[in-house]
């Protein structure tokens, strides 16, 4: 256990944390507009992985792609993952949640529905895509780009970090600088008054799911590139990203990003110090600890809606 090795794990933690951050945004956005813990978001992420696999398999990448071809393959795979993620998220809202909203169902009903939708979606994926794991078709040779503290930083690592950062910057722009973003924030703060201003709540909610789905699906693709794609892959990253959203202050987009990064690093640090068996323990220990002292999360201002 050298010091350099520790730094190496830290770098890997940042890579993982970037993925968690992007997934966590999906949880926090939906929570913002609906006060709903959308547990089915982990399945949106999983479908994103399959979207990438299916699209790239259909296109059959050549064996030794050129640089330009690699870029195209990656862009295509990520777009397909994001698109399928968005489609699943959009359908989920339309089919599962909208009818509940129309009937003013109690919040517990939403929660149970979310859990049910999650079961349904991952079993559906198991049935559609077979229950064994598949590797993402090779889009580029995953070579070491450079070495940082004795750790090989490979193309995939860079791909994940750069795409995730680009998505987070883009999302931050959309939420804070666009009209759709104002609508999302207004609905999160006071839906009734937002509608008095001319905001169509149904539209905003639907688009919020699509945005979360795009990010979650793209993250699923990136996760698949880094390991494999299987119908159960959503659960652990999903629940960790959910914890990250709570840790950062649920409803707060920048909080979700911070929480994701933090839990990614905590996870690899745990593996480094205590071994792989503890991988998923420390993240939740941190969550419990933080919530004991800051119940609203790291960047959460207050609980619920206040006038």
């Amino acid at each position: 256990m050298s010091l350099n090795e520790l730094w190496g794990y830290l770098v890997l933690g940042v890579v993982l944390g970037c993925l968690y951050a992007v997934i966590a945004i999906g949880y926090t956005l939906v929570y913002g507009v609906l006060q709903l813990l959308n547990f089915a978001h982990s399945e949106v992420f999983m479908f994103g992985g399959f979207g990438g696999v299916l699209a790239l398999t259909a296109w059959t990448p050549v064996v030794n792609p050129s640089g330009m071809q690699s870029v195209l393959y990656v862009a295509f795979g990520m777009a397909a993952g994001a698109a399928l993620g968005a489609a699943v998220a959009y359908g989920l809202e339309k089919v599962a949640y909208r009818p509940l909203r129309k009937h003013n169902a109690p919040r517990l009903v939403f929660l149970i529905t979310a859990i049910g939708a999650s079961f349904f979606l991952y079993n559906l994926a198991g049935k559609l895509f077979d229950r064994s794991s598949v590797a993402m078709p090779q889009m580029y040779s995953n070579e070491t780009v450079f070495t940082l503290f004795d750790t090989d930083i490979k193309t995939t690592h860079l791909l994940i970090v750069f795409s995730a950062v680009a998505m987070m910057v883009g999302l931050d722009y959309v939420v804070n600088r666009t009209k759709l973003g104002s609508g999302i924030r207004a609905v999160a703060q006071d839906p009734e008054v937002a509608s008095l201003m001319g905001v169509n709540i149904d539209k905003v909610v639907s688009r919020t799911f699509v945005i979360g789905g795009l990010l979650g699906g793209a993250a699923g693709f990136l996760f698949g590139v880094n390991s494999k794609v299987v119908y159960t892959m959503g659960f652990l990253p999903g629940i960790t990203a959910f914890a990250a959203a709570v840790l950062g202050g649920i409803g707060n987009v920048r909080g979700a990003m911070l929480g994701g990064l933090l839990l990614g690093v905590v996870e690899t640090m745990t593996v480094f110090f205590w071994g792989d068996d503890w991988r998923y323990v420390a993240g939740f220990a941190v969550l419990v600890l933080v919530l004991m002292f800051r119940p609203t999360g790291l960047l959460g201002e207050r609980l619920g809606r206040t006038a």
């Binding site: 104002s182 924030r185 009734e192 509608s195 201003m197 001319g198 905001v199």
Partner: protein, 254 residues
């Protein structure tokens, strides 16, 4: 003063003819099994200030909420310039030129003053700079605080922001729900002065108020609601002079 029977009829100022800007016709609203509005009739003509008075639970807020599409009446009609708009959702109704300043102000607490004002102009492609300048001229305090979060403002400032936000939608008709609630008398007077100015600049106002004396001093006409029904309707000056109104809503012995 005429008798009680006459008071329930159309207001004395019968020179108001033609199509009202807003008309509520035999409006019935229920909350579950409870009848909140028992068939009320209200007319607001262009350029007027009309006050809706009454005790808690008389149905004042419900009337406003039905007018701006926040709740659907079970029976009756809401007409804007003579056209039925009941059943149209509130987010679509803003396009018809209705600005609703809700009870309790309800500014967006985690948006800046400027962002709150921009939300008021959401129905437009982009906020009108001139309109924002006009709001800042009406409420210089808002200009000073434009980068401050809505939730950090004082009650009076929040009320100003809520009114300014509604003006950003360039409404023909401004609905105000208890703008004086919880505010110091000096601030209330300021706000009513500004409402007068807004009306003089061409915006029609329908005002719900517990503060009957302030409201009637500003208003052209008034309606008094009692348990979901219109109990009196008259010129504001007549209502101000009416002994029953004075006893019930102005805190004077009859």
């Amino acid at each position: 003063m005429s008798g009680a029977a006459d008071l329930k009829k159309e207001p004395a100022g019968s020179e108001r003819t033609g199509t009202p800007l807003l008309e509520l016709r035999d409006l019935r609203v229920y909350y579950g099994a409870i009848e909140a509005l028992k068939g009320i009739n209200v007319k607001v003509y262009e350029g007027e200030v009309v006050a809706l008075l009454g005790a808690n639970g008389a149905g004042k807020s419900t009337t406003l909420r039905a007018a701006s599409g926040m709740l659907a009446p079970r029976e009756g009609q809401v007409l804007l310039h003579g056209e039925r708009v009941d059943g149209i959702k509130s987010h679509d109704l803003v396009r018809f030129g209705i600005g609703h300043v809700p009870e309790g102000r309800r500014v967006f607490p985690r948006m800046t003053v400027k962002e709150n004002l921009e939300m008021g102009a959401y129905r437009f492609k982009s906020p009108d700079r001139e309109e924002m300048d006009r709001v800042y001229t009406l409420f210089p305090r808002l200009k000073e605080r434009r980068t401050q979060l809505g939730g950090t403002l004082s009650g009076g400032e929040q009320q100003m922001l809520a009114i300014g936000r509604a003006l950003m939608g360039k409404p023909e008709l401004l609905l105000l729900d208890e703008p004086s609630m919880g505010l110091a008398p000096l601030i209330v007077r300021q706000i009513f002065d500004i409402l007068k100015e807004i009306n003089e600049q061409g915006t029609t106002v329908l005002l719900v108020e517990q503060n009957a004396s302030q409201a009637l001093q500003l208003a052209d006409r008034g309606y008094v609601l009692e348990t979901g029904e219109v109990a009196m309707a008259d010129e504001a000056s007549s209502l101000l002079a009416d002994p029953r109104v004075r006893a019930a809503y102005l805190g004077e012995g009859a």
